[in-house]
């Protein structure tokens, strides 16, 4: 069977055979870079379209349906429009930081791709502290948002950036704590180890209620961390017009927009990896025939399917719930999510020590 692992291995071997090792590594860098950017473009376009379609169906509308079949090229057309638009820099803005901010947000999102396993053996960098890397790098994007808000010389932007700062810093705690539950159960920070530990069942099934709780907390926390409704206070459009990116236009705005969707993808990919077994197919105990059929579905499909399921869940939240207020948002974190996840962590630790999981 043609799997992504074989392709990467073949490319790796061919490059090492034809070029000297340094050049081969360099060209692998290049290939990975190009692939990452291509993935970004495809993901950005498809997620925006997906969001618009999901929103439309929930809101008893049709959504984009004029450009291409089912409006498939709508986002391409939008991107073309945004590229052609003038990128304005407001008077009195800190020009350097203003122009730098979208790239910081974008690069932070891009770096997160490194340790994610897209399919069996298809991973850019299987670093041994993979989960730590993810949590650490994902908090860099707040710097970009703060920078954008401050440099815009706009009060709405500043308020949005401040809200975003408070929000991301606090929600990182419970996101981290719920990730740690899986780390405790697995005993490893490496992504491939975590996935392999789920070969006989995903953590969400194996780990009983405590893991389910930490999964729910994780979903809530990453929704907040990616500034999505109902936690989109940083860009709360009825309060702060557009929050931190009020003053951005053209391609710089598009970068923020794209980074938001990439962040969603990555957050959901992490969720899928940790709780839903990454690329691991769905297996039920000893039903050999069923398990074999499941194995026939390529591992990349499993991964993408799980990730998109989580993305859909986040979109569903967005188009259903009203927005929280800033103090309620922090209340939710400090009074509900944090205590619960701390208690939950204790329970999971006990579980791991006693071996009370399948």
């Amino acid at each position: 069977m043609l799997s992504l692992e074989n392709i990467t291995n073949a490319v790796h071997e061919w490059l090492n055979a034809t070029l000297n090792p340094n050049l081969a590594l360099l060209s692998e860098f290049l290939i990975v870079g190009v692939l990452a950017i291509a993935l970004f473009a495809v993901l950005g376009l498809s997620l925006v379209l997906m969001e618009r379609k999901v929103a439309a169906f929930i809101q008893i509308r049709l959504g984009p349906n004029r450009v291409g079949p089912f409006g498939m090229f709508q986002t391409v057309a939008d991107t073309l429009k945004l590229i052609m638009k003038e990128g304005l820099t407001p008077d009195g803005a800190d020009k350097f930081l203003f122009n730098l901010a979208p790239y910081i947000v974008m690069i932070a999102a891009m770096m997160l791709l490194a340790p994610i396993a897209f399919a069996k053996g298809f991973q850019i960098w299987d670093i041994n502290i993979g989960v730590l890397f993810l949590t650490a790098v994902s908090s860099i994007s707040v710097i970009g948002i703060l920078m954008a808000g401050w440099a815009s010389n706009n009060k709405y932007s500043l308020l949005g950036a401040m809200r975003s700062g408070a929000q991301i810093v606090s929600y990182e705690l419970s996101a981290g704590l719920s990730i740690i539950t899986i780390v405790i159960l697995t005993g490893s920070l490496q992504i491939s180890d975590i996935i392999n530990a789920q070969a006989n069942g995903w953590w969400i099934f194996k780990g009983h209620i405590p893991v389910l709780i930490s999964f729910v907390i994780f979903i809530i926390a990453v929704t907040a961390e990616t500034n999505r409704a109902p936690f989109d206070l940083a860009e709360a459009e009825s309060e702060l017009t557009a929050g931190f990116h009020t003053e951005y236009s053209g391609m710089k705005f598009a970068l923020f927009f794209l980074a938001e969707y990439i962040n969603i993808f990555i957050a959901c990919a992490i969720g899928a990896t940790l709780f839903l077994g990454g690329w691991m197919p769905f297996h039920i105990g000893h039903w050999e025939a069923f398990n074999h059929i499941m194995d026939f579905i390529p591992s990349s499909f499993w991964f993408i399917g799980k990730t998109f399921f989580l993305i859909f869940l986040m979109m569903w939240f967005r188009w259903t719930f009203p927005r929280l207020r800033i103090d309620q948002l922090l209340n939710l974190e400090w009074k509900y999510l944090l205590p619960i996840s701390l208690v939950n962590l204790l329970v999971v630790a006990l579980m791991a020590v006693m071996g009370w999981y399948f």
Partner: protein, 371 residues
């Protein structure tokens, strides 16, 4: 007014909400003094769409001035027209046929439901939930279709005129209104499931923008804003006009005074309006739809005041006539103007998010405030 907005001497931030802002639903301009996110002072600046309708009316005849009032509170244009027609009829002592009265009341109540539907959707959108807007517009669309069929327009109908109504009902009217009522009833639970019961929504609304009973009276609040604070102010009950004295309905009163009370008043008012329509729709008497009036109306000398209950509160029409074909002075006491004056008091000390929630439940329509 246009001094450079920066920070105050105390180091508080000054920020403009509006005139172009998603939460103000029009060109309302609020200058806010903020301490962080906490509101210290709110100062409305009005007049961006002031058309001086009162001055315009001084040169329009009594038949013509009715249509202008559709442009004040465009969401309850029927009721505005109704009020003006009633004022003229009161002055000229025109007896309106029973049929016209019933038609007018049905139209008023349909307008009220349509207005509250729009408010519900727009308010949910203010709070960041976009979907309710589309659900509410689906039902509102049915009403506007009914209006379009009978009155010939969807928003500024100019259907009610001095003496009765402009044309007779469309033959399908009763059938369509009944189908609307059953549609509305089947969808109404969704509203509560989606928004009213939602924990986030309740937290956003409860205890926000509190207006005490005394303040509501003192600020001259009317309509759902006053009734949310426990002030009985329904003109339809207190000073019944047309056939409101003959139909059974309750004045919805809540005592909380916060945004959630105002919300519940409006939600329940929709049900009361449905109740009124249900009582009337099968009992539209036969007969003329318009009283015989002269082509040119001349009001006797004197002062006439007519109050009606629009979707937003009490609309007062104060006509000073010198006996000619045009009024000497017309004053429209619009509900939004007084309700807005209470806003600064209500949001003091709360967050920006609360401002949006409070403004949403005040249901401001800017042309109504600016006139």
């Amino acid at each position: 007014m246009f001094e450079e907005l920066g920070t105050t001497a105390e180091g508080d931030m000054l920020i403009n909400i509006g005139p172009q802002h998603p939460a103000t639903h029009g060109v309302l301009h609020l200058v806010m003094t903020l301490n962080g996110e906490t509101i210290k002072k709110t100062e409305p600046h009005l007049g961006y769409i002031h058309r001086s309708i009162e001055k315009m009316c001084e040169s329009l005849t009594y038949r013509q001035f009715v249509y202008v009032t559709s442009r004040m509170d465009y969401l309850s244009s029927h009721i505005n027209n109704h009020g003006c027609s009633l004022a003229v009829e009161k002055a000229m002592q025109i007896e309106v046929p029973e049929r016209a009265q019933v038609i007018r009341v049905i139209m008023d109540e349909l307008t009220r439901i349509a207005s509250h539907e729009l408010w519900w959707g727009a308010m949910a959108m203010d709070l960041g939930a976009f979907t309710p807007f589309f659900y509410s517009f689906r039902e509102r669309e049915t009403i506007t279709d009914i209006m379009e069929e009978t009155c010939g327009a969807r928003l500024t109908m100019n259907y009610i005129c001095p003496g009765g109504v402009m044309m007779d009902l469309h033959p399908d009217f009763q059938k369509r209104v009944k189908s609307f009522i059953s549609l509305f009833k089947s969808k109404f639970d969704e509203y509560n499931e989606l928004v009213t019961g939602n924990i986030i929504f309740q937290n956003r609304m409860k205890g926000v923008g509190v207006l005490s009973k005394e303040d509501a009276i003192s600020y001259g609040c009317t309509g759902p804003t006053a009734r949310g604070s426990g002030v009985s102010s329904d003109i339809r009950k207190l000073y019944p006009y047309e056939v409101y004295s003959k139909v059974q309905f309750d004045e919805v009163l809540e005592t909380g005074g916060d945004s959630f009370s105002r919300y519940m008043v409006r939600i329940n008012e929709m049900l009361q309006s449905i109740k009124i329509i249900e009582q009337l729709i099968d009992n539209i008497p036969e007969g003329e739809f318009q009283a015989k009036t002269k082509a040119v109306l001349k009001l006797p000398k004197g002062e006439f005041y007519q109050r009606v209950e629009t979707a937003r509160g009490e609309l007062g029409i104060y006509i000073v006539s010198e006996g000619g074909t045009t009024p000497h002075r017309i004053k429209f006491r619009s509900p939004g103007f007084s309700n807005l004056s209470a806003l600064g008091h209500m949001v003091k000390g709360s967050k920006i998010g609360d401002l949006v929630a409070t403004m949403g439940t005040l249901d401001l329509v800017i042309p109504d405030i600016d006139r």
